[in-house]
């Protein structure tokens, strides 16, 4: 009954202070969009890192004029390794063709000769091979006479790890900042609402209302503001994602081999619940000092 009464009074409060709350929700939605966008970046970097990590591969660049017998011997060795699932021989012509298909650098590269592209053996490792194991295989393969260079993508993974770490730190910092903003904005909004409804509070207290009874609707209003701001931010990001993902997908696929993904269900739920909880805390804190009548 008390909850029902608090909901009824919160609805009335939201209706009476709607202008104030619209301004607050819009301001907070901007903060949540910043956080959501950063989380979207982290999610996509994570997805790319996971994809690269899982599809472990090594590229063996072959010497110019390498003996076909040496190359064949190398293939036999590779195919005999338990960690290797597939070996493909890429000729310079195939490498050129593949490059021209995927690269979108804004210049006419059709005149590039095949000789620019070295022949290679693309080695696909089985699922679950660790980066360390991949590095050790690469080091051993570099000893072969036919091999001029080995690319195990270790440095890329390292860079990606750094990037991911930085992005996660940024997201963490932004989450703290957004939390502070939500508490401050909702706290101030509720404070204004409390000041405008001071007489109501006084009347209720004189009639024998407990602090919980008085506080209830304000906490619900704060909770609603936090939730509505987070929801507005998630919906804005979703619209942006749906509009842009077609055009971004092809570029990203060429660069990283992965597609753009939206925030996971857990992240969305965490944003919405987090918004509601922080909103409730912000309003509970700000209304506390007005309860002494």
């Amino acid at each position: 009954m008390e909850v029902k009464s608090a909901i009824t009074r919160a609805k009335r409060g939201l209706r009476e202070e709607r202008r104030l709350y619209i301004v607050a929700v819009t301001s907070l939605a901007v903060a949540f969009i910043c956080l959501g966008a950063t989380l979207l970046g982290v999610t996509n970097l994570d997805a790319a890192a996971t994809r690269w990590g899982q599809s472990g591969r090594i590229t063996l660049f072959l010497r110019d004029g390498a003996d076909p017998q040496d190359i064949a011997q190398l293939r036999v060795v590779l195919e005999g390794l338990a960690d290797v699932s597939e070996v493909t021989h890429v000729t310079p012509a195939q490498a050129r063709e593949s490059f021209l298909e995927e690269a979108d650098v804004g210049a006419d590269l059709s005149k590039l000769p095949s000789e620019v592209f070295p022949a290679s053996l693309e080695v696909v490792l089985v699922q679950g091979v660790t980066r360390e194991r991949s590095e050790s295989i690469a080091m051993r393969l570099a000893q072969f006479r036919a091999v001029s260079d080995v690319e195990s993508y270790g440095r890329w993974f390292q860079k990606l790890d750094h990037l991911l770490w930085g992005a996660r730190m940024l997201a963490g910092g932004l989450a703290l900042l957004v939390m502070f903003c939500v508490v401050a904005v909702i706290g101030n909004t509720i404070r204004l609402a409390v000041a405008r409804r001071r007489q109501e509070i006084e009347v209720m207290k004189l009639c024998g209302a407990t602090n919980g009874f008085v506080r209830g609707p304000f906490v619900l209003e704060g909770m609603f503001q936090g939730f509505a701001s987070a929801l507005l931010a998630v919906l804005s990001l979703l619209v942006g994602y749906l509009v842009l993902h077609d055009s971004v997908d092809s570029t990203l696929a060429a660069l990283t081999g992965s597609k753009v993904v939206f925030l996971g269900a857990r992240t969305v739920v965490a944003l919405l619940v987090g918004g509601a909880v922080i909103g409730a805390i912000g309003s509970a804190v700000s209304v506390r000092r007005y309860l002494a009548v």
């Binding site: 009954m1 008390e2 009464s5 009476e16 109501e200 009347v203 209720m204 009639c207 024998g208 009874f213």
Partner: protein
């Protein structure tokens, strides 16, 4: 080990609790040697002794600033006594914990000079708030509010916006809010101060009708014309001290003149 004595909320001041039979036979309100200081050297109330029986109607009068409102505030615990005791239904309300104060106030009805009703609420909402706080079912709230509005002469006016009412009607809404939880004691702090003389008489009559059903009423006023028209017990506060007449001004034994008495 002798620790600080913890005062628990009195059962009577908890939701749903009722006064026991021995409590009902005692005075509803007793003030024992009550002092209230706002400045250390000048008490607003000094050594006030007072006893109010159940079902009594008493005027509290005195010049402006004499301490009438302070006395009432001590009873509904907006203020706390500095010395002495205020016993309501035998309980020392000066020692109530903050958490128990709401349960004390549910046993009191308070009416103010400035009405203290919410203008943007309807008449019904203004009265119903006193029952909503005790989580009463809506069906019961509707019938109790309708009954209270009928008692104050506002039957059928529940859906009206309070801002459209006259001063006298607003005060009737405030009275309905005070009586709707059926409190044991009603404290009226200058309830006619903002009203015309004829409306003041109407409101006084309304309080007398409420009193006739058994509710104790303390009616603070400095309006001489009101006091002189009735023979109720008269409690006068002057310079923080209390003097009394059991049957209105006609039986006044105090040393001060009538004008000093009522300000």
């Amino acid at each position: 080990m002798q620790g600080t004595k913890v005062v628990r909320p009195f059962p009577f001041f908890r939701a749903g609790a009722r006064a026991s039979q021995p409590q009902l036979s005692k005075p509803i309100l007793v003030l024992e040697d009550v002092y209230k200081f706002f400045r250390p050297d000048q008490p607003t109330l000094r050594g006030v002794d007072l006893s109010v029986e159940r079902g009594e109607f008493a005027f509290i009068t005195g010049p402006s600033g004499a301490g009438k409102s302070t006395l009432l505030k001590l009873i509904y615990r907006e203020l706390r006594v500095d010395e002495g005791r205020v016993l309501f239904c035998g309980r020392d309300i000066g020692r109530l914990t903050d958490k128990s104060i709401p349960f004390l106030r549910r046993n009191l009805g308070v009416v103010f000079q400035d009405f203290r009703i919410i203008d943007h609420w309807t008449v019904f909402e203004n009265v119903a708030v006193a029952l909503e706080i005790v989580s009463m079912p809506q069906r019961l709230i509707r019938s109790r509010v309708a009954e209270a509005l009928e008692r104050v002469g506002l039957a059928g006016r529940g859906p009206e916006q309070t801002s459209n009412l006259s001063g006298g009607e607003k005060q009737r809404v405030a009275v309905a809010r005070a009586i709707v939880p059926e409190p044991a004691l009603i404290l009226a702090d200058e309830p006619t101060g903002n009203l015309d003389p004829h409306l003041a008489i109407d409101i006084l009559t309304l309080f007398e009708e409420i009193n006739s059903t058994g509710t104790t009423v303390l009616f603070a006023t400095h309006d001489h014309s009101l006091i002189s028209k009735r023979d109720h017990r008269l409690i006068s506060i002057d310079d923080g001290r209390v003097s009394e007449a059991q049957q209105g001004l006609k039986h006044w034994q105090g040393s001060s003149g009538i004008h000093t008495l009522v300000g």
